[in-house]
């Protein structure tokens, strides 16, 4: 039932919300998170992020994460869309939507999905600096801590 996509093209959050709720009358709340490319990382200006993934594994890993959310909360629907490729500042990277009859479930599941996605889905980011040069983004302990609290 969940909609899970990995794609180079942009997504349309409004259209995804509309798709999720079309014809439904049982949804009380939809939580949503949109991750976007910032133009600064650790004080350095970014020209772009290059997002790489492990195609054979990615959608399976995302499906596992969604299943974990569905075990923890009563969800009516979920959407996870993650972009890959070269993304410039201001661009969308990731969309998470979680619909439930109740707002707490929708909001908690949204936070859970993005926290787990950050530590359990095979994506890697490389920063391209405006001043030249590039560097792989290091995993952050704060992301591990955020994922571990669930």
């Amino acid at each position: 039932m969940a909609r899970i996509l990995v794609q180079t093209q942009d997504f349309d959050t409004g259209a995804e919300l509309a798709r999720m709720t079309a014809g439904r009358r049982d949804v009380g709340g939809i939580g949503c998170f949109v991750g976007t490319v910032r133009d600064t990382a650790a004080g350095r200006k970014i020209a772009a992020l290059n997002l790489e993934h492990y195609p054979a594994m990615t959608e399976r890993a995302l499906a596992r994460i969604v299943e974990a959310a569905e075990r923890r909360w009563t969800l009516l629907d979920c959407t996870v869309i993650h972009r890959v490729g070269r993304l410039e500042p201001g661009a969308n990277i990731v969309l998470v939507l979680a619909a439930s009859a109740h707002r707490q479930a929708a909001l908690e599941a949204t936070a859970f999905l993005i926290d787990w996605l950050k530590t359990k889905a095979p994506f890697w980011k490389k920063e391209e600096f405006l001043a030249g040069g590039e560097a792989w983004v290091a995993a952050r302990e704060s992301d591990e801590a955020a994922a571990a609290r669930w």
């Binding site: 492990y54 993005i114 530590t119």
Partner: protein
Amino acid sequence: MTDTLRLTVLYFAWLRERAGIAEERVEVPAGVATVAALVTWLAARSPGHASAFADPGVVRCAVNQEFADPGSPLRSGDEVAFFPPVTGG
């Protein structure tokens, strides 16, 4: 009796860059029966491989597209992927 394992090995992110290869098919002795043993075996293949595996503590692994541990067993035909901690989202 098979005395070798045929494995597909994938490298992602900076492990790919250091190893200098994205994917390779290898035939390893049957004694190389765990992820940790495979790391040791692969690290000896080239200076690039040695560099990729220089700090095994920061290398993550998946066997057949599922996260695996150093102790995870390997069987012939497995797809084994090595990569740094993930940084999506």
